[in-house]
Amino acid sequence: MQPKTIVQFAAAAALGAMMSTTAVAGPDDDSLIIAWGSAGPIENVDSYVNNTRYGIWFSRMVWDQLIYREPKTFEYKPLLATGWEQLGDTVWRFNLRKGVKFHNGEPFDADDVVFTLNWVANPENGVKVQRNVNWIKDARKVDRFTVDVEMKRPFPQAFEFLSGPITIYPNEYYAEVGPEGMHERPVGTGPMRVVSVKTAEEYVLEKNPDYTWGSPKGEAQVSRMVVREIADVQTQIAELLAGGIDITADISADHVDQIGGVPGFSAMQAGTMRTGYIGFDAANRSGHEAINNPMVRQAIAHAVDRESLVRNLIRGDAGVIHTPCFPTQFGCDENAAVTYQFDPEKAKALLAEAGYPDGFEIEFYTFRPADWAEAVMGDLAKIGIKANLTKMPYFALRDKQRNEGTTPMFLMDWGSYSMNDMSAITSHFFKKGPDDFALDDELAAWLEAGDTNTDPAVRKENYAKAIERITGELYWLPMFNHVRNYAFHEDLNFVGYADEIPRFWQYGWK
Amino acid sequence: MSGDNILEVQNLKVDIPVTAGMLHPVRGVSFTVARGETLCIVGESGCGKSLTSLALMGLLPKTAIRTADRMDFLGQDIRDFKERRMAALRGVKMAMIFQEPMTSLNPAYTIGNQLMEVYRRHISKNGSEARARAIFLLEKVGISAAASRLSQYPHQLSGGLRQRVMIAMSLMCGPDLIIADEPTTALDVTIQAQILHLLAELQDEFEMGMILITHDLGVVARVADQVQVMYAGTTVEEGPCQAVFDNPLHPYTAGLLRCIPVPGKAKRGSKLGSVPGIVPNLVGDLQGCMFRNRCAHASSICETLSGEPTRIDDGHAFTCRLTPEEAAKTAAVQGVA
């Protein structure tokens, strides 16, 4: 029975692949053509093997999680699990939905969940983002539609992961084909099913006709979808304007104004929880004496006109952020943060007090478009700090930071993998891991307590202390939350979400 | 002889526009060539003899302007022939052998290819026929193992052999007229004689007319029937070989004859004679005798001399202010200064 369905599925898919290449932009043929890829293509669409933003977008179309997190209110709702209860500090029991089928016809049941969770929990299987899964001890089948999941330690953020990166795979198929096969022909329960995958070039998907069980994600609004990996944003825009694609999600804020003004097209901005910050080498690995002085860092905090930067460059519903996390995230208490207002005079005074009345020179690093950094540099120049910008590719910069430590000051950002919990950002950077450039033992201890305690109140308390320390000592100067900018055919029903995940299957034609 | 003329040329002129004005390298040359007869055109480099031959073939550079009162070849007036009609004559009816055997063959193709190409173009597409003809002619020009030579490239042959190939090539279609432009200048002295001998033989055998352009009076003496002596674009003396050699009338001819190199001792490629002075500028309106600035007998008359030749008997003529008697005397005594 099972092999037969796999064969049938493969045959159907092959047939689909043959007819696949034709999809026309615009509302006429019930198809949607998407362009993404400016940050590089998805190396493997198996959602456990890549860690790109586009990989997340793709996975939401093809796979489902146990739990659904409502994108506006961040409430948890049933998805593949219909209900759950906690059996002690480290065990959750999930009741599974009946009547759900994978794209290859394999019915969804406890075996799939148990297999998936145990597979990803095993470090030898090489899940790329280990912190997404390394809290799982194991999963056990209770009956055909009930599963127990045991955690290695009390893990309050578990639902963030179970509603985010942890997608449920079909056990028989995945055991047979592994990540390679899952890449070539992904199979899930999601609203879209994959017709063909051409690595780094194109993915063709079609509506999953079986997605009728009332999923909160909703059914697909188009019958066919083509995703094109286009590395160059300008090429994406050219394609959009030339009628080659329907929507792009990679453009800049200025493009929003410009494309929005073109008849036939709409553009919009949607704020995200991606948090930008200026990081400082507080642990003094770079040997830059001035930046090691908290007073100098305060001077910088007062010198940078974040409001103007947000208003002029980022725009949309971006705002200045004062916390080393995104305010909607659990534990991210804005009141705990020490805030710094734009005040060049005060900055100059602080700088003089710190012993640098004439300012100093500093190397400044970023991987983002230079204009944001240039705006910061312009402000710093006004108080006498001459920042020399080095813009590097992301991986080269991270390498320089971690291994050489020669980056006294850097403008970077973190998207928290769209997880609405402060541990996804602050704990990543300040728990003395490879990305920790403050190396504050006390801070690390507070964060550890916040990460592992099951009592929300205790967590909040510890996180608040951490926020106060980070902003008080200015290990980071939080800057603003990023905005994702979209441009699309004007007849498309587009909605932007704060978790930086466009739900492409929900967008239909007017 | 005159009844069997294959080429009659009257008042042939070549003009070339250059930046400084109009250059007149050939200024009114006339001659005839009869079947089986050899006409030698003699003169220094730059006297216009090569351009004369190119003008006959229609191979002048594009910028050059050719005019003539008469140019009859095999009874056809070829003055107004367009490139296509000329091309139909060249290689078939009139063929040319050039001075530089080293560079006159295309390095990219075999000898056989280049030989047969003329035949196939003009006579017959039949490859084996052309091949047979090529082998026949290669043997004719004294090349051993002719068949195997066909597949050789020019760079594999010596200069003498290449010139033999060139001769064979010119004969491929059995032309009526062969123009040989200093065919031996670039060759070793020993080979020069062989080639000339060969040319003369072949001409005899195939009953062709031949124009041999040379600056080597020794050669002329051996092979010429008629001689034209050219200087600065004009004919200064012409006539049957015997008459010109025995009785040179123009001071220039006399000067040339004085300095015939002793065969075998002259260096290869050495310039003809040593008539002192330089060739005049041929740009612009030219008047009078061009030789006057090098001539021991020049007088004011020479500056306005019309250029009409003085005719003596037997087609012997020369262009000079001197009377034949005066000329004969001075030539015998003094020649040039």
């Binding site: 410009q258 705006a375 | 500028n281």
Partner: protein, 309 residues
């Protein structure tokens, strides 16, 4: 490979022999008849003087500080637009509100600096290699030939990008990388010309007289190769400028906020469909500069060739 002039036809060769004017008069005539040389030289002088005078222009208020930014005046339009135009910025402003004209003017400095420094470095390397190979021949020639071929086998653009990633992008790194890569043509040309020069009679004579090798190279060989050296130098300078632009365009070139034309192209590209001048202006400047250098070099070659004949 040089253009064969029609004078290689026998008849015209005669004509030219007859018409030989004095060498200097001929050179002069060649220069003034050579429009490409004149046009190239004119544009080049213009750009160089603008680049050199940029600080003066800034001091006298014609242009502004190319680094002075004002976020509230970003992306102003140039003078041919009525909307969002500010008389302070004739050619508008860039995306952080810097005066575009000033950046273009200062950009000339950067492009020329890159072109010139690269040319000096690569010219030095290439000439040393080429001249020694050509002069000494034998084993040295073999080794130099190998080095040249190795260099030619390296995909310049890719390796330059890798080098920039490795050493971090900066003006200095870009100049060094290009300088270390673009010497091949110098070496090839110098080698063959030195070989020819080595066999000239007076060079042979100098050797026979026992002149020292450095003396011969500097006094006898070098004057012979100078004209070709200049021609290759112009080609390489143009090449270096284009390569820098391409590197900057992909983000592997000089760092912001340096006003480099290549970087401005990179930045202006974001607006190519809507504010095309942000792309067109630096692109046009780059085009003009490279065109001028090429014309100048072509003219120089013609003039030099004519003289050598």
């Amino acid at each position: 490979m040089t253009d064969a002039s029609p004078s290689s036809q026998p008849s015209l060769r005669i004509a030219e022999e007859i018409l030989e004017p004095s060498p200097m008069a001929k050179l002069r005539r060649r220069i003034f008849k050579n429009y490409s040389f004149l046009i190239g030289a004119f544009i080049l002088v213009l750009i160089v003087s603008i680049a050199l005078l940029a600080p003066v222009l800034e001091a006298s208020g014609w242009i502004q500080d190319p680094y002075a930014q004002d976020l509230s005046k970003r992306l102003n339009n140039p003078f041919w637009h009525e909307k969002k135009f500010d008389a302070d910025h004739i050619l508008g402003t860039d995306k952080v509100g810097r005066d575009y004209l000033s950046r273009l003017v200062y950009g000339a400095q950067i492009s020329l600096l890159i072109g010139f420094s690269t040319m000096i470095i690569s010219g030095f390397i290439g000439t040393v290699l080429g001249v020694s190979a050509g002069y000494f021949g034998g084993r040295i020639d073999m080794v130099v030939n190998f080095i040249i071929n190795t260099r030619l086998a390296m995909p310049v653009f890719l390796v330059a990008m890798a080098a920039v990633v490795a050493f971090g992008a900066s003006l200095l790194v870009v100049i060094m990388v290009l300088g270390l890569f673009l010497w091949d043509r110098f070496a090839v040309v110098m080698r063959s010309i030195t070989m020819q020069a080595r066999d000239l009679d007076y060079v042979k004579a100098a050797r026979a007289l026992g002149c020292s090798t450095p003396y011969i190279i500097v006094r006898e060989i070098f004057p012979n190769v100078l004209s070709s050296l200049t021609v290759v130098a112009t080609v390489e300078m143009a090449n270096a400028i284009l390569l820098e632009a391409a590197l900057s365009f992909l983000g592997f070139g000089v760092q912001a906020p340096t006003p480099s034309w290549g970087l401005m192209l990179n930045e202006g590209r974001e607006y190519m469909f809507f504010s095309a001048w942000l792309l067109a202006l630096p692109g046009g400047c780059l085009f003009l500069l490279v065109l001028a250098i090429n014309l100048f070099g072509d003219g120089l070659r013609d003039v030099a060739l004519e003289r050598e004949r």
